[in-house]
Amino acid sequence: MAKVKFFASLKDLVGLEEIELDVADHHSLMSELERHLSVEGYEAICVASVKIAVNHEIVEPGFVIRQNDEIAFLPPITGG
């Protein structure tokens, strides 16, 4: 199982802070999320400006997921 987290505006749009999914890679993650999330929530995480982190490192499309990985969907940063 992998833990999937949503932050800031994505947490509101998805309506969830966290979900646990049995996934092996980017492709299976997205198809599982499409199945579990609302249409609006899924569209929100698919926007090009949203970054994905695995175990606190930003990853590129096509990444692999291992047991107990922590995946996070991050909207554009507004710190400082």
Binding site: F7, A8, S9, H56, L74, P75, I77, T78, G79, G80
Partner: protein, 160 residues
């Protein structure tokens, strides 16, 4: 090089931090640059002015600390620095509250000014913080700006 990074709900007392920071920097230090950011009472959203009541900051515990450490590493490898301190607040803040502090000590002033400026530009675009504003226009997540991204990208260009 002395370094200190903190993400905290609590406010900070600039004078106390300044005194302890400057004592931790070596005698090679020729100067120190400090930037303190505050919450503004007015923000412009899609051309409308919003009277800000609350600014709430969310972060990603575990990842945000690592991202700030990378920003500090980047500054330390770009210039010869004697000390760096970064404090970023989270939680609910009000107008006039302190939100961020960056202190950089270096042998020469130009390095301290540049490093402090770079760290601020990167905090705005590379450290996982998100601002939610509540004001007379309602509650909304703040959008990132092209200007912030351009300022961040200008450092990539300058270092090439």
């Amino acid at each position: 090089m002395y370094r200190s990074i903190s993400i905290q709900e609590d406010d900070f007392i600039f004078g106390d931090l300044y005194e302890s920071f400057r004592l931790k920097c070596s005698a090679k230090t020729g100067g120190l640059v400090a930037f303190v950011g505050f919450v503004r009472d007015m923000n412009f959203i899609d051309g409308e002015s919003d009277q800000v009541e609350i600014l709430e900051l969310e972060h990603y515990p575990g990842m945000t600390e690592k991202s700030i450490a990378k920003i500090v590493d980047r500054a330390a490898s770009s210039w010869s620095l004697e000390g760096m301190l970064v404090i970023h607040r989270i939680g609910k803040l009000k107008p006039e509250d302190q939100i961020v502090l960056v202190m950089v000590a270096a042998s020469h002033r130009s390095e301290a000014f540049q490093a402090a400026s770079m760290v601020m530009d990167f905090l705005k675009t590379e450290a996982e913080f998100w601002k939610k504003e509540t004001g007379d226009l309602g509650t909304r997540w703040i959008q990132s700006t092209d200007q912030d991204l351009k300022r961040r990208e200008s450092w990539e260009y300058n270092s090439e």
